[in-house]
């Protein structure tokens, strides 16, 4: 895998001075994906499932072919893949359809302070409504979810475990497979937030044996407006739809109606057709490179950058030991929003704030952090520019009196 060559696939990087280090928020898109979107809009931009004419048949085939690609991508079955607006929508679907209909005040839901708001807030809502208790896994001193700590909160009352596969702030990989095994022993289902895992590592839902899993297209080279919810067939079968309307129903009468089987039961209305087709193209691109190459590359860049960062005075790195391409840090005494404007001046895109994960920011006892995240199109030169800019930023802010 040659990142210098790959850069050419990403039109945003035609600006050679740009250093894009905000993939954890959204990835850039390769030409191959953009072309696929154009192809849909230029050649067969018609609706799916409904038309009996050829163009509509082609559109439907391509839409469903993407579902097949997604299913193979995570080793699921075809009808276990539900297309949603994004990971947030997918995680809400799990909580609303499964959570609201299966939990009572006797039950417990395990989450963590390491979750993105889109994983923790839907379950906070389920807890508010059903009175099931929300239980937080205590994080270890690095801010990790560990099997040891997980065991402390798991018990017979646990009905749902909702945790991340990879944290979008700390970049840690959770011991999710072991957590799932333990959860199943007490009869709990596990919903995995894989928004930061899907772009970076091979996911195998059969091997993990997870019950639900969610991710977004736009973080893995795909278009905006498309996400995926995986659910085990047996679970989906008994779950009610949460949106009602065209295409998801079977027979409609004045006062009652029946639904199609999964996945269609959960996909009402005209779906994000172009989005799904574009996601299929993104998966092709990733498969072509291979996840082993991608994650090795990211890890190399991250280790390189962390090593250099640690040598700069006044730099605080919060996740030195992380296994993925995310670095969360601060310049001592400088508010991250001040800092990020400096980096922007050097045409380096990075994130400052709470990263939609206020609980871990509070846990870190800071107001906000800076975050960079490396991906397949980043190079050692990007790292060097970044490190140089960090040094200059530190010097600048000290010089003006921070």
């Amino acid at each position: 895998m040659d990142a210098y060559l790959l850069k050419k696939d990403f039109p945003v990087l035609d600006d050679k001075t740009l250093v894009y280090l905000d993939t954890a928020a959204s990835s850039l898109k390769p030409k191959q994906v953009i072309k696929k979107l154009d192809e849909y809009y230029e050649k067969y931009s018609v609706n799916v499932h409904r038309g009996v004419y050829s163009l509509s048949y082609v559109a439907t085939q391509l839409y469903e072919e993407s579902r097949r690609k997604v299913s193979e991508f995570i080793n699921a079955d075809f009808d276990e893949i539900i297309f949603t607006r994004g990971a947030s929508s997918a995680l809400n679907l799990v909580a609303t359809s499964y959570g609201l209909n299966n939990l009572t005040s006797e039950d417990e839901i395990i989450v963590s302070e390491l979750e993105h708001h889109s994983q923790v807030l839907p379950w906070q809502n389920v807890s508010n409504i059903t009175k099931a208790k929300l239980i937080y896994v205590p994080l270890n001193k690095e801010g990790r979810i560990t099997v040891e700590n997980f065991k402390k909160v798991l018990n017979k009352k646990t009905k749902v475990v909702a945790l991340n596969y990879v944290s979008n702030v700390m970049g840690y990989v959770s011991p999710i497979k072991e957590i799932i095994r333990l959860s199943h022993e007490v009869g709990a289902v596990v919903s995995v937030d894989a928004a930061q895992a899907a772009p970076h590592m091979r996911i195998d839902v059969k091997d993990l044996d997870c019950d639900f899993l969610a991710f977004s297209g736009h973080k893995m080279l795909g278009p905006t407006g498309i996400g995926v919810m995986f659910g085990k067939k047996e679970l989906l079968k008994d779950m009610p739809p949460i949106e009602f309307g065209g295409d998801m129903n079977d027979n409609v009468n004045l006062y009652d109606a029946s639904w199609k089987d999964s996945p269609y039961k959960f996909e009402t209305g005209t779906p994000p057709i172009a989005g799904a087709i574009g996601l299929g193209a993104a998966i092709d691109y990733l498969n072509n490179l291979g996840f082993e190459n991608i994650s090795t590359h990211e890890k190399k860049l991250k280790d390189y950058a962390v090593e250099k960062l640690l040598k700069i005075e006044d730099i605080i790195v919060y996740n030195k030991t992380s296994e993925t391409g995310i670095i969360t840090f601060n310049i001592a005494g400088v508010h991250p929003h001040d800092a990020v404007t400096f980096f922007d001046g050097d045409n380096i895109c990075m994130r400052a704030g709470h990263h939609c994960a206020q609980l871990i920011i509070k846990w870190l006892e800071v107001v906000a952090t800076l975050r960079v995240s490396f991906y397949l199109y980043n190079t050692i030169e990007d790292c060097d520019k970044f490190i140089e800019s960090v040094k200059n930023a530190r010097d600048f802010f000290k010089s003006v009196g921070f």
Binding site: H337, V367, A368, F396
Partner: protein, 143 residues
């Protein structure tokens, strides 16, 4: 980095390090407005006390970047003692200046004029405006 340097070297750092009129009062003669910047989490509360058409006091508290916090301090110094009409006028002028709208250059913005440099950093305009927007809110409440 010239633009950034110009911006920070001036009034901003001084007020960021030594904020004037900081801290809220538990006094019902003050109107209070709390605003957050959804983009970046800046979080500021402004209090104002208007008496006989005069801005008697302005208080502020919160967390945020240097531009956000300093602008609250600068604002308090600029507005205290002004008539309500002048304060309103200054606020409007300031906000127009920030967003590159036409504004009345004859209005005396005093130290607040340094925030003109923020329009080189469009992503930070909100940081420089929320304190003033909150002040506007307190004026509306006092009507």
């Amino acid at each position: 980095m010239r633009d950034l340097e110009v911006l920070y070297r001036q009034v901003i750092m001084e007020h960021y390090k030594n904020p004037r009129n900081k801290g809220l009062l538990n006094d019902s003669t003050y109107k209070t407005i709390h605003i957050k910047n959804p983009t970046c989490g800046d979080d500021i509360t402004i209090q104002s006390k208007i008496e006989d058409g005069i801005v008697k006091d302005v208080r502020h508290d919160g967390t945020g970047c240097s531009i956000c916090c300093s602008s609250a301090s600068v604002m308090s110094e600029t507005l205290i003692g002004k008539t309500k009409t002048d304060a309103k006028n200054i606020t409007e002028t300031y906000l127009n200046m920030l967003t590159n709208k036409e504004f009345d250059e004859s209005v005396e913005l005093e130290e607040a004029v340094v925030y003109r440099g923020v329009n080189k950093f469009p992503a930070r305009i909100k940081c420089a405006s929320i304190a003033w927007k909150a002040f506007e809110g307190t004026l509306e409440e006092s009507e």
